[in-house]
Symmetry: C2
Subunit: 223 residues, 2 copies
């Protein structure tokens, strides 16, 4: 049975997200205004728009969030960490970075850790969420990625980019929770389009829901 949550509680978990490559500034403005009106947790956009979002969300509690090394994660650590640094300078308060999936799968754990650390170190006071892109990983690889995220001082582990072959599952949330305990929070993302799905993720232990369907989800609760 799903836990009962009221509108405010649910809204406070939603990262209102638009990462499509053809998104235009007007759509991003609307996204911000919707997030403010609904008291969502954050607005998550590509780096090109973070300055505009930070400006639009000024003097509200909604956090400006951007994505780094997104969605493939196969950039150099230098490029990722500099991209994060630039984004924080432009007003990002949350940084959702993608791990180096190929390095993880090749067993280069030290590199994966250093890659995350480089972004954490260049993100100042911003919260860092580490996207482990579960769809490409074995359960053991998911665990290693969570451990590395914790050791690197990240604030969240996050399931998916939404651009891979699969998204969040309650099973993965539970697995991630079993590794990070209460030290890190968990963000569920990728393919979450309904209230039912969102509630399942929260029940499994997620603290945030990354979705482009935040309005629909909130409206379902009110029906």
């Amino acid at each position: 049975m799903q836990e009962q949550r009221n509108k405010a509680q649910l809204a406070a978990t939603i990262d209102h997200t638009l990462l499509k490559p053809d998104a235009m500034k007007d759509q991003i403005t609307k996204l911000c205004d919707q997030a403010i009106a609904n008291s969502f947790a954050a607005v998550c956009v590509n780096p090109f728009y973070i300055e505009h979002v930070a400006e639009r969300l000024k003097q509200t509690k909604v956090q400006p969030c951007t994505v780094i090394g997104f969605p493939l994660g196969a950039n150099t650590s230098f490029a990722k960490s500099r991209e994060a640094h630039e984004a924080v300078g432009k007003g990002a308060r949350e940084i959702d970075m993608v791990i180096n999936i190929g390095a993880l799968k090749a067993g280069e754990y030290k590199f994966v850790l250093d890659d995350i650390s480089s972004v954490v170190n260049m993100s100042g006071a911003a919260r860092v969420k580490v996207i482990i892109e579960t769809c490409f990983l074995t359960d053991d690889e998911k665990k290693v990625a969570c451990e590395a995220s914790a050791r690197a001082g990240a604030h969240y582990v996050k399931t998916s980019t939404g651009f891979g072959s699969g998204g969040a599952t309650a099973k993965d949330i539970k697995l991630m929770r079993s590794v990070v305990g209460n030290d890190l929070k968990i963000k569920a993302s990728g393919g979450i389009r309904t209230l039912e799905q969102a509630q399942d993720m929260l029940d499994a232990g997620a603290a945030r829901i990354g979705t482009s369907s935040g309005i629909a989800i909130i409206e379902s609760l009110m029906e």
Copy 2:
């Protein structure tokens, strides 16, 4: 009717490509060795692997190629141009960058031009290919993107990332050719998996074929 090409002529058009986020170093090494053995034009990988590719291709005619702002293009111009600069420093001889699609669709042509110019200017002697991601564009937008690429001093216009909702078509190659004439070359990419498709793109005016199916395409020719 398709123009006749022998194996060497066809191979010289192929950018042997592996951009999957879970690609491991061993696969990239194999990709390089296949490209050398078949005398392909280039090996195209994510930035994390460009240093390894440049080392592996040293003293061969195969060009080390990487992708910038890939695949969404919605990074800042600063991040894109620095990522290109770093890649060239690590041995990239070809730079496949993604335009800012949202800015183009919003009519911010000056920005789109400056964004491309920033990458061209930071890429030194490397060839720059501008991915216009045709699947998101109207024909007019495709034309504007080609014009901007020419004005910015790029060397190629390229159809697709392979991560969007569609790939290369002969119709788009002809449209792009009608804008850039012989000043820029054209790279067809996205969904090209057969010899038939590759020949169609070359007949339409493409000079390069970006594909992860280079071996299968070449082997079809020899049957």
